[in-house]
């Protein structure tokens, strides 16, 4: 039986040698539900500088028409038109833009915030319109400013950006003042602003009421809208020059 022992020893030796050369077995992870991909980490300065990107959220859309503006025009159409003009103006100035909607649809507020947060935007604007008041109303989140947390709660992600949001609001205020557009500033709690993790300002366009230095203009007046869009684009250009990622 000596030859059987020799054959067994040879067989073990061959198997052991193959096991050493073979790659380790791959463990198959269970396939869970689809999870949105996390944003790519920002590289160190100098290696790949993060780009300056603006997210524009045209409020309302689809079955959510928003306010009724002059002559029954729904707010959702005004906001989409304004957002489109602002996107074109910014792209002409070399600014990258991401829109939360480009058609008559109504993304959920959580999806609007997700679009902004995944884009890692340098500025986020929510566009609204109202038949009440005069000029442009600028709003920042009414959340109390908080320190930047690595894992901020979704519902209050804006808290870490409140100070920057107010600076951005100030830039837009200044640019609109140069364009002789009356501006009111305030704080508001409007979805999805509080969940957005970037400097965020809500821009609400109202008709221009005639005054000492202004002549009355309808909210749907193209020249009025162009003046506002140009001023906001100029403010964002200024924001880009001041921007430190």
């Amino acid at each position: 039986m000596r030859w059987i022992e020799v054959a067994s020893a040879l067989a073990f030796a061959v198997i052991a040698a193959e096991a050493q050369q073979a790659p380790p077995p791959v463990q198959q992870l269970p396939q869970g539900p689809a999870v949105p991909a996390l944003p790519a980490p920002v590289g160190p300065p100098g290696v790949q500088p993060p780009r300056f990107l603006v997210v524009i959220d045209a409020a309302h859309g689809g079955s959510d028409i928003g306010a009724r503006i002059e002559s029954g025009v729904p707010e959702k159409d005004v906001t989409l038109g304004l957002a489109g003009r602002l996107r074109s103006t910014l792209r002409a100035r070399g600014v990258d833009v991401v829109m939360t909607r480009t058609a008559d649809v109504n993304p959920a507020t959580v999806n609007r915030a997700e679009t902004a947060n995944h884009a890692q935007a340098s500025a986020c604007l929510t566009i609204h319109a109202t038949a009440t008041g005069s000029g442009v109303h600028l709003f920042t989140s009414s959340l109390t400013a908080a320190a930047n947390d690595r894992f901020p709660p979704w519902a209050t992600a804006q808290a870490a950006y409140v100070t920057q949001s107010m600076k951005l609001e100030s830039e837009i205020d200044t640019a609109l003042a140069h364009a002789a557009i009356p501006v009111t500033l305030g704080k508001a709690s409007v979805a999805p602003m509080d969940a957005v993790a970037c400097p965020e300002v809500a821009v609400e366009l109202a008709p221009l009421v005639g005054g000492h230095v202004t002549s009355a203009k309808a909210l749907t007046d193209v020249s009025y809208q162009k003046t506002v869009v140009d001023a906001v684009a100029a403010a964002l250009e200024q924001w880009r020059s001041d921007w430190k990622p």
């Binding site: 928003g66 109202t130 009440t132 709003f139 009111t184 500033l185 508001a188 709690s189 109202a206 009421v209």
Partner: protein
């Protein structure tokens, strides 16, 4: 054969039954009167108000054109009950919205259904009185008449909060309902799912001054 004693007992019990029936009928009528008085509500409240002392209250009336609140003093007859006081004060504010020369026009007859007060929730280690949460139940008519937009809706909420806090200083937080139900927004914009800080969000600097919505 029924004994005499049993006859007396029967008639005595019958008399007691009739007496109890009369007493119950009287109680029922009294309860009906009370329910009817509660159902009428407003007239009873008005009668109560008429019997109360006059007091000067401060209303914070919004101005849509410059996004401000203006303090307006008004003399009102206020009832003793705090909930009723809040209702009367806010009814006067809604009346200011409805005025022909209103700076925050809103065509609504009845704006506030009710106001409730709850203690501000505190942690286990908290000490002292943290004030009250006012739960303001807005009418569906007010929500329907509310002009849609961030500015007009926010101004309505700020004016209610500032008016409540100025006249009932214990009110530190305000939560809004519409027709007794939680609602996402007032008219498509201002968030009604959260509780607002009444004292901090409206810093009033004096009559006619601008109130930052900060």
């Amino acid at each position: 054969m029924i004994s005499k004693f049993q006859k007396y007992l029967f008639f005595a019990l019958l008399l007691v039954c009739v007496g109890m029936a009369a007493f119950l009928i009287r109680l029922r009528n009294r309860a009906q009167d009370q329910l009817a008085a509660q159902a009428v509500g407003a007239p009873a409240e008005m009668a109560e108000t008429a019997a109360s002392a006059q007091r000067t209250v401060t209303l914070y009336v919004p101005n849509d054109l410059d996004d401000s609140l203006t303090a307006v003093d008004k003399s009102l007859s206020l009832p003793e009950d705090r909930n009723a006081q809040a209702r009367v004060i806010l009814a006067a504010l809604v009346e200011a919205y409805r005025a022909p020369d209103s700076t925050h026009p809103m065509n609504v007859a009845s704006g506030i259904d009710d106001v409730y007060f709850l203690p501000v929730p505190q942690g286990k280690d908290a000490r002292g009185d943290a004030g009250q949460v006012a739960v303001v139940d807005l009418s569906g008519a007010l929500a329907a008449a509310q002009p849609s937009g961030i500015e007009p809706e926010t101004l309505t909420l700020l004016s209610i909060m500032a008016t409540l806090h100025a006249n009932l200083p214990a009110v530190m937080q305000v939560h809004f309902l519409v027709d007794g139900q939680q609602r996402e927004t007032l008219a498509g914009h201002a968030d009604l799912t959260r509780t607002y800080l009444a004292g901090e969000e409206t810093k009033v600097q004096g009559a006619g001054s601008r109130v930052e919505g900060r």
